[in-house]
């Protein structure tokens, strides 16, 4: 009986922890280089979006400040754009297509999708807009006072 209660408690904790970790969705990065031959590289990974703002607290402060300083002019616009885009319905924001390349920037289900297909590489990036907003706000708060 006690074991059953413990198992139930553990299951509940795991379910809640899982729900929290994945409540913002996942960041998906897929980069495939097509060089032809042995030099081809394939990078694919998924990261729980909720982990990214937490990870910012682990990165050395000077690195964060450097990044924040570099992005300073863009940060207010990124904060607002990510918040507003998250409120919009799904949309295709930018599409560039020619005989060799196809670039798309879209919003789908609260995520920003960037897809590039070219003879050299294929890139698929998917980031929840709420994560972009959270990271930009965090960086904004770390910009050194001028």
């Amino acid at each position: 009986m006690i074991a059953a209660k413990l198992a139930l408690g553990a299951l509940g904790t795991l379910t809640l922890a899982g729900a929290y970790v994945f409540h913002e969705g996942v960041i998906r990065v897929a980069v495939d280089e097509h060089k032809g031959g042995r030099n081809e590289s394939h990078v694919h990974f998924f990261v729980p979006a909720a982990a990214v703002p937490l990870a910012l607290h682990v990165v050395p402060e000077d690195r964060i400040r450097q990044a924040a300083e570099r992005l300073r002019p863009l940060l207010p616009a990124i904060v607002i754009a990510s918040r507003e885009l998250g409120r919009l319905p799904d949309a295709d924001l930018v599409e560039v297509r020619d005989a060799r390349e196809h670039v798309q920037i879209r919003v789908r289900g609260g995520k920003l999708l960037i897809d590039v297909e070219s003879p050299q590489e294929t890139v698929h990036l998917s980031v929840p807009l709420c994560t972009v907003n959270e990271v930009a706000r965090e960086l904004e708060s770390r910009v050194p006072a001028s």
Binding site: T15, E24, I80, E84, P89, V94, V96, G109, G110
Partner: protein, 193 residues
């Protein structure tokens, strides 16, 4: 029974958390979008489509402070082009009655600038080339008024965007030549053509 209820409660709670955080809030149906479509056939086939919600532009512009753009306004000095005071010209057009301000018909170009039915119209056609490239610009006068609304030496871009959003669907720019077609328009669709 208690155990089943506890499991159910955990699952319901977890299931409830996910959509609460993940679902985007639907935009109102009246959301206006600015669309740009550039289609090029020479030297190679290329298509560029840009769709920007006007509400987004209205909110992001004031956050950009760069090259004379600040708080959603641009100073007239920047808008001054080759000795032409753009603000003064727009102000004169705003206060003028409907009519044709400029009409040029030559073997090289046809140019027409007019104010008509609440729109500022600019039409340019190049006659030298066989395909007669054309530029058509059609701006609602409410947008021109909004641009000048700051009353200072600035053009208020945010006010102009607001006026554009309040205006019905409209085509702003159309450029057509033998190599490319450019179209800029506003409507309520979140997809381009």
């Amino acid at each position: 029974m208690k155990r089943a209820m506890a499991v159910l409660a955990v699952v319901v709670l977890a299931a409830g958390l996910v959509p609460a955080f993940a679902q985007p809030v639907p935009a109102p149906e009246t959301e206006k979008w600015l669309h740009v479509r550039v289609e090029q056939t020479q030297p190679k086939n290329e298509l560029v489509r840009v769709n920007v919600p006007l509400a987004l532009a209205e909110k992001v512009l004031p956050a950009i402070h760069n090259h004379g753009l600040h708080d959603g306004k641009i100073t007239v000095d920047r808008a001054r082009m080759e000795g032409v005071d753009l603000r003064a010209v727009l102000d004169a057009v705003k206060n003028a009655r409907d009519g044709e301000f400029v009409t040029i018909q030559s073997t090289e170009n046809d140019v027409r600038v007019a104010k008509e039915n609440g729109y500022l119209l600019v039409h340019v056609r190049e006659n030298r080339k066989a395909t007669k490239p054309q530029v058509e610009v059609r701006v609602p006068m409410t947008v021109v008024d909004a641009l000048l609304s700051s009353g200072t030496n600035e053009l208020d871009l945010v006010a102009a965007i607001r006026a554009l959003a309040a205006h019905g669907d409209t085509e702003l720019v159309r450029v057509k030549d033998e190599r490319s077609t450019v179209r800029v328009w506003v409507d309520s669709k979140n997809v381009s053509e």
